[in-house]
């Protein structure tokens, strides 16, 4: 027993002496070893103290890693424990992301080449409580994370979490095979959402499959294939379905400049998902991105197909855009600049084109389901300002907006909207917009110095009133409230003042093109004199042109009924007319006289 105690004391003394001696020369050895690593990895490594623990554990305290050309530390750790040279635990690790990103951009390729020369050994790395500062060390709130990584033979596993407001747990398992890697499973989940992917990376081919549950969306049947070629990276296919609707993406980008790329995206909705409320059928999008000294810009086009015309009354829309720039201000705010955006669509079979230039859109999305968009754009030599609030928490999306047009040139507008053909002047308007299953657009409009020539309405009015001059109205000031609800359109407080006449009234068209309208118009003496009836009225009623002519319109838009309403002018005219003369006038005005139309006589025939 005494010998045993003696032997134990001698061993303890030897361990103590060995540890003491080890600690003395370890500092020097560790420094030179760190220098070698630093030289190879283009970094500067410094540490406070080094401790040796028998038999194979070394502890580094207050470790700092700087980029060789860096100004501040890109990585800090209060304690790095290395056991048996292959079991590393990094305590209180902090990463300066901008510095690390810069370092990897500069030296990534060299480090990768150096890492490949290291001896293949089993290794385990544990970072139990890491912090990553996205905008620089000690600036803002860090993203916390945990890494538990191990490489055993060729089997690789990693798990941990990533906590950036939302905490994600991750797991990764796979096998290194030759120069490739088989991913058995990559799982990300945070309680509400989860993602499972598997696939492989061999030579220059990357394949992956999987599925994602994201909030209320099911993204299934993911199937992707990426090919890394000599000069570019080609996404040969990426197919998946979102709640049963098929999405396909193809594209390529340059290896020299990852932001120089082309992509084609298609979105096909299943027939059973398409209805009057959700009429969208297909979206095709082509994007070309280019990175220039002025920044990243996109150009391309988008096609939207709808099965039902719905409130917007179009089945197809094509949008071309040029020089689209995206400026990410922060996590919740981005700006879009578009040099030119042209939309082509048809309503009632008539093609329309809307051209917006120098469009600036600011998009806020602090709430994941609510977006606020501020718009400003040149439009037909005038300007458009608008604000849109988008709620995407449920389908159909809720859209609310406010905006105004200023000084739109009707000449330019008339090139694209046949309804405004041969209308001239400057149009201004402000409006409120509300869209869910239906559209509701309300507002005011004003037109100064308007000039209307040969519109369908004018031709009809000139014919019915027998006033040929009405086919050209100049120097007109027009103002009105307007309201569009679904397919119904309403103009209220409509006022039109010209040199030859003043008009006020309202004009409503319902969803079936049925008109309800009432108006009061006062003609100049010259204009009233053009009409044979007007001349008669002037002859019958002294100063007839000073009295308003009240009328009403109703019926189908394209075959409107006309009525001269009871008014002082009409009363005065009737005082001077025999009733048979009234009937003659009425019959002349009526294109289809049908009084007392009867079937054959009763004696021989019915009636």
């Amino acid at each position: 027993m005494k010998y045993a105690i003696l032997i134990l004391l001698i061993i303890s003394a030897m361990v103590a002496i060995f540890s003491f001696k080890g600690n003395r020369w370890l500092s020097r050895y560790a420094l030179s070893f760190a220098d070698v690593i630093a030289q190879q990895s283009q970094t500067k490594i410094s540490f406070g103290k080094v401790h040796y623990l028998f038999p194979t554990t070394i502890i580094f305290k207050n470790v700092n890693v700087l980029s060789a050309d860096g100004k501040g530390p890109m990585l800090q750790a209060s304690r790095v424990t290395v056991g048996s040279f292959n079991n590393i635990v990094i305590g209180d690790m902090a990463i300066d992301f901008p510095v690390l990103k810069n370092y990897l951009t500069l030296h990534g390729k060299k480090i990768y080449a150096w890492a490949k020369t290291l001896p293949q050994k089993n290794i385990r790395l544990l970072v139990p409580n890491g912090r990553l500062y996205p905008t620089g060390l000690t600036k803002g709130n860090p993203v916390t994370f945990k890494i538990d990584f191990s490489l055993n033979q060729n089997y690789l596993s990693a798990h941990g979490f990533w906590d950036d407001k939302d905490k994600f747990n991750y797991k990764l398992y796979g096998n290194i095979r030759g120069s490739g890697f088989d991913l058995d499973k990559l799982t990300l989940e945070n309680g509400r959402s989860s993602m499972d992917l598997w696939g492989s990376w061999h030579d220059n081919n990357i394949d992956w499959k999987g599925f994602i549950f994201y909030n209320k969306f099911y993204i299934l049947d993911i199937d992707g294939h990426l090919k890394i070629q000599e000069k570019d990276i080609v996404l040969e296919r990426l197919f998946f379905s979102v709640d049963g609707d098929d999405v396909g993406i193809r594209g390529r980008c340059s290896k020299q400049n990852l932001f120089q790329c082309d992509a084609d995206i298609t979105y096909r909705r299943q027939a059973q998902h398409i209805n009057a409320q959700q009429p969208l059928k297909n979206i095709n999008l082509h994007l070309h991105a280019q990175n220039s000294p002025q920044g990243l810009s996109f150009k391309g086009w988008a096609d939207f197909d709808r099965i039902y015309a719905g409130w917007a009354d179009f089945n197809h829309m094509h949008v071309d855009f040029e020089d689209l720039k995206i400026l990410i201000i922060n996590d919740n705010f981005l700006k879009l600049k578009i040099k030119q955006m042209q939309s082509l669509f048809s309503i009632h079979g008539n093609e329309h084109k809307v051209l917006l230039e120098d469009l600036l859109a600011s998009i806020h999305f602090a709430d994941p389901y609510q977006k606020a968009i501020a718009l400003s754009s040149d439009m037909y030599a005038g300007h458009l300002y608008g604000r849109i609030f988008l709620n995407t928490s449920s389908l159909p999306w809720q859209i609310k907006g406010q905006g105004k047009f200023e000084e739109i040139d009707m000449d330019l507008l008339s090139n694209n909207f046949s309804s405004f053909k041969q209308c001239h002047g400057r149009l201004s308007s402000n409006f409120n917009l509300q869209v869910s299953t239906d559209i509701k657009l309300t507002g005011n409009l004003a037109l100064q110095n308007g000039d209307f020539r040969n519109s369908d309405f004018q031709e009809w009015l000139a014919k019915i009133l027998q006033m040929p001059s009405l086919d050209h109205v100049s120097n007109a000031d027009l103002s009105s409230h307007f309201k569009i609800i679904g397919k119904s359109k309403m103009l209220d407080d409509l006022k039109l003042n010209t040199d030859d006449f003043d008009f006020s009234g309202f004009f409503h068209i319902d969803a079936d093109d049925l008109v309800s309208s009432q108006g009061s118009v006062r003609f100049s003496k010259e204009l009233l004199s053009e009409s044979p009836i007007g001349r008669k009225i002037i002859g019958l009623v002294r100063g007839a042109w000073t009295l308003p002519f009240e009328f009403r319109l109703s019926g189908n838009l394209y075959r409107m009924n006309f009525q001269w309403n009871k008014s002082p002018l009409k009363d005065k005219v009737r005082q001077h007319l025999f009733s048979f003369f009234e009937r003659i006038i009425e019959q002349r005005m009526d294109a289809h006289p049908y009084y007392n139309v009867t079937t054959p006589n009763e004696s021989v025939s019915p009636g």
Partner: protein, 175 residues
């Protein structure tokens, strides 16, 4: 040559004779039909109206006889058959005022059957049936005595159509 002329004249006379015979047959059928309708023998009157349509398809009574079919089914409360008959009548005589009466019947049938889509369709057709101008009068009137001897009066206003049958408001189509 003269023989040819004589033969041709005789042939033409034969054609006229045949038409006259048909015309008088239609007159007789019509007289009988409306006589039966006056006595309340609607079923027999209906048979006579059908006979006019079958035997004298070009007769001037065809319009009224065809309208009478829809009217008969309506009076029998056979609304689907009445609807079919009035639709066929409207398609055949779209420019006649009687077609608007048929539309009024179709509108009323749709109203009874509580079919708002059909009501809307017939309302829209009625609204665009004719373009009217009211200068001194605020209404226009069309009268029609049907095969079943019911007095129809169609009153057009700027924004509605009213149909009176035997002096009572039958239906109103506002637009």
């Amino acid at each position: 040559m003269k023989w040819y002329v004589i033969i041709l004249l005789l042939s033409l006379q034969g054609c006229f004779w045949a038409t006259c015979v048909k015309a008088s047959e239609a007159d007789l059928e019509w007289k009988e039909a409306i006589g039966l309708a006056k006595q309340g023998e609607n079923d027999f009157a209906f048979m006579d109206f059908l006979t006019i349509l079958d035997d004298c398809p070009n007769s001037r009574y065809c319009l009224a006889a065809e309208f009478a079919q829809g009217e008969y089914y309506f009076l029998q409360n056979n609304l689907p058959m009445a609807s079919d008959a009035f639709k066929s009548f409207y398609a055949k005589y779209p420019r006649h005022e009687e077609a608007l009466i048929a539309l009024a019947y179709l509108f009323q049938i749709a109203k009874i059957q509580k079919s708002p889509n059909d009501m809307k369709e017939y309302r829209n057709k009625a609204a665009s049936f004719r373009q009217l101008t009211f200068i001194f009068n605020d209404k226009k009137i069309f009268k029609f005595l049907s095969g079943f001897q019911r007095k129809h009066k169609l009153v057009y206003y700027i924004n509605k159509i009213e149909l009176y049958v035997n002096g009572k408001l039958f239906t109103e189509i506002p637009f």
